[in-house]
Symmetry: D2
């Protein structure tokens, strides 16, 4: 409850890094999300501000994202926004904007996808 | 401005219907979005309410969605929610909940995808 | 999980109806949410599509909303979208678009508010 | 288009700072947004991660927010998320998570509000 949910559309900015952790598969990658606005003077669309996020995926999403995503590909990500702050001795606070992903998918506005379902693990 | 943006994750419920209209390619399909909640008595996840939407796609998204999506596949859709009401003589109002899609993608939590970029049309 | 969360900004369209139910206070009202778009020909903002929702509030939110809201006032509502369908013998399906509100507030872009905190019930 | 819209519910963490700038009124304040989750072991709700944002308001929203909001009050904010990064010589990147507010309102789940409409400026 009261999570900050976000849904962003952007480009994969770094190659997904995959690891097996004690709590299961984990993958992370950076995403660049660039707003677009109508430039009334130039009468055309123009690039606005770019937000960079670190996207974290777990369990089956981690395995499938690492197997499916490459740098530069357009994706849509839904997840929980985590703004993390770290205080370090004698240095300004360090901050990061992360998305704990619920879902990631290729953006069909920019290409086609062939989908292969992952069999559910036997209980 | 002031659009009702939604981001939903669900299953394709009807085969995408594709048409060439005067304003370009158009495709539509139904999506079933089922909420999940933690059943404290059964100590397990259970299905909650299901929302059904008609998803409308235009231009390149229409062409790619029709080429990529099949009934039953898990997808994520971001778009503008349009609740449309129609008054008919001697009948209760007819209503529909539509999503004018900005982006559609396969849900990588449930499978993998091979992505093929659509070349941008020559200007 | 997997709820369809929405955040809408619009005008209170009906006087809030308040009731004491077996599961506590309940209130409901209708809200009109009108999109705005830039009309490039007229070079000005214009009204787009209007979505109507029934907003449902429970517990303290119901009591406070009924005490605070009047028809025509601008509000912001965050909650779970429920598209409900009812099949009736010999008639087309009946449908409604409801929002189970998590939070409601007056829109400070259109006016000011004096806030009075509700004391938490003694445990 | 393609903005990262967010809708957050939290507490005003700093007194709103109001200024008249060349492009009109401006106000900013910090907001603390704490997630809540069900602790299955303690069988009760518990505090999760807290996100801090700087909220920026302009024009009439700035004037009304500065006149209406006090530290500690519960609010709902809808706006565009801007993750801003600044590179400084010999120091780690400096980053901030800002929300360019579209709407701010007191949270009626936690109190009541008396609303006073701001007259529209004569054209």
């Amino acid at each position: 409850m009261n999570e900050t949910m976000v849904c962003v559309v952007g480009n994969v900015a770094t190659r997904p890094v995959y690891r097996e952790t004690v709590s299961g598969p984990s993958a992370r990658f950076r995403i660049a999300v660039t707003a677009r606005y109508w430039d009334r003077e130039k009468n055309s669309w123009a690039d606005g501000h770019t937000n960079f996020f670190t996207v974290w995926a777990n369990r089956q999403l981690a395995t499938n994202a690492a197997a499916s995503l490459s740098v530069g590909e357009p994706v849509i990500v839904q997840g929980r926004l985590k703004v993390r702050t770290e205080t370090r001795e004698g240095q300004p606070d360090w901050m990061s904007a992360d998305i704990d992903a619920v879902t990631v998918g290729h953006d069909l506005a920019r290409g086609t996808t062939a989908f292969r379902r992952t069999p559910r693990p036997e209980l």
